[in-house]
């Protein structure tokens, strides 16, 4: 920014502050004068409204130098409306949460609101002034805001992916040779794709925070169990013993107490804990004491943002339009159980996100198998390997796709596999080695068996439930059917401690929708086969694997639940969520293609 520009902005600020001062004196004088003739409330109302009119005229003509217009005049009160809401909220936070004195807080709010009022006034006046130059500038300004925010969200990742459709903003002027397609010359369209990701990420973050705000600490399955490692590492900077703390330990973030012998998930990688340690450190600076546990949950909020970005990339990679991609992302991300999982601290959120990113990277690599993309795919596979055991079937999908595509000659660079493996090991091996050196295992099998044993030996849980090969017969339908119902429901929405349900019509509608999706997928596959007379690696292959994934994961889950787990949990099927998103976009794309073909043949 040149000196002249800086000077202009400084002068504008001075004029704005001067206008505020004059306005205060002006409205106060009116109030005093009117109060001689009428009640104080009426006098204040008139003075206040006059102040708004004065502020509009002064800021438009003197401060921002935009033309006066009726549209601008009637839009200007929006500034005050927004400013009032923001000040009331800030005042409440300062007084009630940060315990600032009630006398001092309004002063802080008043000073804090000056920049906000300045920015809002500028935006409203320039947007509604009827001056097209400013309108374009505002649009650009918004876009730049998104760009800056988007950079924070996607930091580094898009640069590695080199995604020519969605991540090229990061690549332009850096490594353009990585992109197979030319960057779109239309700057607004190019930015727009990332704007979509940013809006999706921010909006979904808000949704997830809204969910978090209604769940008390440990108000969801195993949150305290996952918190234990975060709290212990923060406090003692060393790994706890498999048997839990040696003496009763109270966490400084959650104020929850763990007693000797408390169960925790030992002997398995803990990437979510590492992330949570980072967000908790930031949270402990900015959050008030009662909500320190939200700092730990904040890691899942970040994961939620990354999740929707990954889904959007999957949809775009399949070839859907921007708006259709956004809608398909909304459908999957707003599944109540998915939002719920991101709202409290657990390892499943990490698992879902790692599967989604691995899938997105796989599609990017398959579309254009460059060296950089093979490295990125390796990294995401490495991160996925650190997820909990029941997310690892996702690796089968990735491995099978790579092997079959290579066999079909669609991927021709064996050297990529070496790079992929190396990058995968670089990201996964250190934590595996660390975990193995401490616990002698890397997948937490012992902990999982302890967990199962805990229920198996529990008379209150009727020593577990038998589903097959039981005394009652080969398959005990009276046990299995409720299990299936419970699993299906908790895949869609059973929140709290797996006890809060919603009206049945929602479950039935969800079931109907998923059945329609699967039947449509199959019918389209048959139609495609009849038309093309060949097996499609872009449609038939993923379809077979996705449709096979659901029953196979369900069967594994039943095997794991036999005489063990206390209740059916849809979370063991969560590995399928990113694949469900993939299935939805595949079907939509295929429907669009079929409709195009019909139109073309006509």
């Amino acid at each position: 920014m040149s000196f002249a520009e800086k000077k202009t902005i400084a002068c504008r600020w001075l004029r704005f502050l001067l206008g505020g001062g004059i306005n205060t004196a002006f409205t106060y004088a009116i109030y005093i004068a009117l109060n001689l003739a009428m009640g104080y409330q009426s006098a204040y109302l008139i003075a206040y409204l006059t102040g708004v009119v004065f502020a509009y005229c002064f800021n438009a003509v003197i401060v921002f130098r935009t033309p006066l217009s009726w549209k601008g005049f009637f839009s200007y009160p929006l500034v005050y409306l927004f400013q009032y809401g923001a000040s009331a909220m800030l005042l409440g936070i300062l007084v009630n949460i940060w315990r600032v004195s009630e006398t001092l807080a309004p002063l802080i709010v008043t000073v804090g609101m000056i920049p906000l009022t300045y920015v809002l006034s500028m935006l409203v006046l320039r947007t509604f002034s009827g001056d097209d130059t400013h309108r374009v500038n505002n649009k650009e300004r918004f876009v730049r805001c998104y760009q800056i925010f988007g950079r924070w969200l996607n930091i580094g990742y898009s640069a590695l992916v080199g995604n020519n459709i969605t991540g090229n903003i990061f690549m332009e002027n850096r490594n353009p040779h990585l992109n197979t397609l030319q960057i779109n010359d239309d700057k607004f369209v190019t930015v727009s794709d990332r704007t979509c990701q940013t809006i999706l990420a921010v909006t979904y973050c808000v949704v997830v925070i809204a969910w978090s705000s209604v769940i008390n600490f440990n108000g969801a399955p195993d949150e305290s169990t996952h918190f234990f490692l975060v709290e212990y590492l923060r406090e003692f900077k060393t790994m706890p013993a498999p048997a839990g703390p040696l003496i009763t330990f109270t966490g400084p973030l959650s104020h929850y107490s763990w007693h000797p012998g408390s169960f925790w998930y030992y002997g398995l990688p803990f990437p979510h804990v590492v992330g949570a340690l980072f967000t908790a450190s930031i949270g402990s600076i900015v959050l008030p004491e009662p909500f320190l546990y939200m700092g730990v949950r904040a890691f899942n909020w970040v994961l939620a943002a990354l999740f929707v970005v990954a889904l959007f990339r999957i949809a775009r990679r399949v070839g859907l339009s921007q708006s259709t991609s956004v809608i398909s992302v909304i459908i999957v991300a707003m599944i109540p159980q998915v939002s719920f999982v991101f709202a409290y601290f657990n390892s499943d959120a990490y698992g879902i996100v790692s599967v989604a990113w691995a899938l997105s990277s796989l599609l990017a690599y398959c579309a254009s198998p460059t060296r950089m993309r093979s490295i990125v795919l390796g990294i995401t596979i490495g991160l996925l390997m650190l997820a909990k055991l029941y997310f690892l079937p996702g690796l089968v999908f990735l491995g099978a796709t790579l092997v079959i595509r290579s066999s079909a000659g669609l991927i021709k660079s064996p050297r990529h596999y070496l790079e992929m493996t190396t990058s995968c090991l670089i990201f996964a091996a250190p934590m595996f080695v660390f975990t193995y050196s401490h616990f002698g295992e890397i997948f937490g099998i012992s902990g999982q068996l302890d967990f199962v044993k805990m229920h198996k030996l529990n008379p209150n849980a009727l020593y577990g439930t038998c589903y097959y090969l039981c005394e009652q017969g080969l398959i005990v339908w009276s046990n299995l059917l409720p299990w299936l119902e419970s699993t299906a429901k908790s895949y869609f929405s059973v929140t709290g401690w797996m006890s809060v349900l919603i009206p049945d019509n929602y479950y039935w509608t969800a079931l109907l929708l998923i059945l329609i999706l699967m039947v449509s997928a199959l019918l389209l596959a048959i139609y495609d086969w009849q038309i093309e007379k060949r097996f499609s690696c872009d449609y038939h292959l993923p379809l077979i694997m996705i449709l096979g994934l659901f029953p196979s994961i369900t069967i594994f889950s039943i095997i794991a639940s036999q005489n063990g787990l206390p209740q059916a949990q849809g979370r063991y099927l969560f590995v399928t969520i990113p694949f469900l998103a993939y299935l939805i976009v595949l079907v939509i794309k295929k429907i669009e293609d079929v409709l195009n073909n019909i139109k073309f043949s006509k």
């Binding site: 009331a88 936070i93 807080a105 809608i327 459908i331 109540p336």
Partner: protein, 201 residues
């Protein structure tokens, strides 16, 4: 073709709207089912914002004592001021769920909901004869009551409090009242079944 694509997109939009509504319904159910709804971040933030805003001040002024109340109900003597709180004859939705004996007295639990939008019941007062023997605060989470009355405002209508020094045989002598934030007093219907012939009169 364009029409067909439009229809596809319309169907997707409808599904996404339905999913958003399902998400909201589930969020609401989770919120109402919280074991301690008052300590959720949402409630604490809203309380914080509301209790410090101008709106709240206006609300408190508007729905607390009125000038007529001061004229008609307040008497001032040398000992101090005395505010008369007449018993409101309007019926309220309430129930005493249980009165059980505990180590040092009785434990009373139930719920009360004042349907007026400007009034909130704050305290339950237990009286024997003319003596106040126990006071409990209203505000426990009762999602079941809210669901049964189809009134979201009734979600914090529960109460549970101890009446020390009163034993089981005296429980049918109890009378229960609810005091609102606007200083109105309502009687809570309490149907007591005598447990034995030694009920104290």
């Amino acid at each position: 073709m364009r029409d067909a694509n439009k229809i596809t997109r319309l169907i997707l939009v409808l599904v996404s709207i339905w999913m958003v509504s399902a998400n909201f319904v589930s969020w609401k159910a989770t919120f109402l089912a919280s074991s301690d709804i008052g300590s959720t971040m949402l409630v604490r933030l809203l309380n914080g914002v509301f209790s410090s805003s101008v709106l709240s001040t206006w609300y408190r002024l508007e729905h607390s004592l009125k000038k007529e109340d001061v004229i008609n109900r307040l008497t001032i003597s040398k000992e101090g001021a005395l505010l008369t709180i007449p018993l409101n004859t309007k019926s309220v939705l309430a129930n005493i769920d249980s009165v059980s004996e505990e180590s040092n007295g009785l434990l009373v639990s139930g719920w009360i909901f004042v349907s007026s939008e400007i009034e909130t019941a704050k305290f339950v007062i237990a009286v024997i004869g003319e003596s106040i023997v126990g006071v409990g605060e209203i505000g426990d989470s009762r999602a079941d009551v809210a669901a049964a009355l189809n009134e979201e405002r009734a979600v914090l209508s529960g109460f549970s409090f101890s009446i020390p020094g009163i034993t089981e045989p005296h429980k049918c002598n109890l009378k229960m009242f609810a005091l609102t934030q606007a200083m109105h007093l309502y009687q809570i219907p309490f149907y007591c079944e005598a447990t034995g012939p030694d009920q104290v009169k």
